[in-house]
Point group: C2
């Protein structure tokens, strides 16, 4: 199975959700990307359909927006 990708921007809501997701699906099944730091991947996240972070993109390409930390507009700054 390919990995899910968890996009976040380092905010407290994101960190809390990250811990929960790691506990639930396991770090082996997860790539974690801080798009606040790795800004070159913002566009990739947006193309995947990420509208806010934290968000989980599943192996089949669905986007689960989890709670609400920041909009992509805010991440772009």
């Amino acid at each position: 199975m390919s990995k899910s990708i968890f996009y976040h921007a380092g905010c407290s809501v994101c960190v809390s959700a990250e811990h929960d997701i790691v506990n639930l699906i396991g770090s082996d099944n997860l790539e974690i990307v801080n798009i606040g730091e790795i800004r070159g991947r913002i566009e990739e996240a947006e193309r995947a359909g990420v509208e806010s972070v934290p968000a989980l993109v599943t192996p089949n390409g669905n986007v689960l927006h989890i709670n609400f930390g920041a909009s992509m507009k805010d991440v772009r700054g």
Copy 2:
């Protein structure tokens, strides 16, 4: 490990999220509750901190609100 509880209300957003969550964490680790039908559990969900559905309450009691289907106010009707 105790199970996570996935609360939903039968809406299309909920059904889509349910499939993704089942694929990610496995149906064995999940109790699925349709509070649109089992209305006696609305109060339990609200006490757990669920503000909208679909939502996942993790074994340690954190609430992950996933995408957005309906507010608890709408579920109560």
